[in-house]
Amino acid sequence: EDKVVQSPLSLVVHEGDTVTLNCSYEVTNFRSLLWYKQEKKAPTFLFMLTSSGIEKKSGRLSSILDKKELFSILNITATQTGDSAVYLCAVSDHDMRFGAGTRLTVKP
């Protein structure tokens, strides 16, 4: 059965810390892996990854995909309280399958 597993489920850190969020997947026809940030309602797009080993970077956030080991990581450096959110990983094959998310809380 296709599945997307994120870890940890929740994480509490202090401002300035660096965090690594994990996403492993098993899907039949992998097309892409996407990361989203969900603060209240609408998830907002962070990254789309299709190729192994190529890091995508946006400010303090970066992500990389390993298609051989079937996982991706999302790194956030120098965390800020505004980074507090649920981070969702989604894998696209015939449809878009989401993991349960990682709830990140950044304390001042």
Binding site: Q6, S32, K41, A42, L88, A90, M96, F98, A100
Partner: protein, 112 residues
């Protein structure tokens, strides 16, 4: 430019009733997808439409149905509501399949 818009934002129904949720995609996007998000879980795929045709269906009962109109807006219908249908229903549009999804703010349904 307007993002994905959904209506209503909140609604309360009782068991056995039906509900219609509406979604307007970003201008130029021809694909609309629907997701159900229960508290504490990630969004679960319900339907995807592209150019008014159903392109995918998740593991939901036949009480759930959807359609896409010529202007690419979409409706999600749920019949014979159950308590377990209480959730945030998210609509997302995309330009390509597969592609980056742009989500609306969702419709929060409460079934009493």
């Amino acid at each position: 430019d307007a993002g994905v818009t959904q209506s209503p934002t909140h609604l309360i129904k009782t068991r056995g009733q039906h509900v219609t949720l509406r979604c307007s995609p970003i201008s130029g996007h021809k694909s609309v997808s629907w997701y159900q998000q229960v508290l504490g879980q990630g969004p679960q795929f319900i339907f995807q439409y592209y150019e008014k045709e159903e392109r995918g269906r998740g593991n939901f009962p036949d009480r759930f149905s959807a359609r896409q109109f010529p202007n690419y807006s979409s409706e999600l219908n749920v019949n014979a509501l159950l308590l377990g249908d209480s959730a945030l229903y998210l609509c997302a549009s995309s330009f390509l399949i597969p592609g980056e999804l742009f989500f609306g703010e969702g419709s929060r349904l409460t079934v009493l």
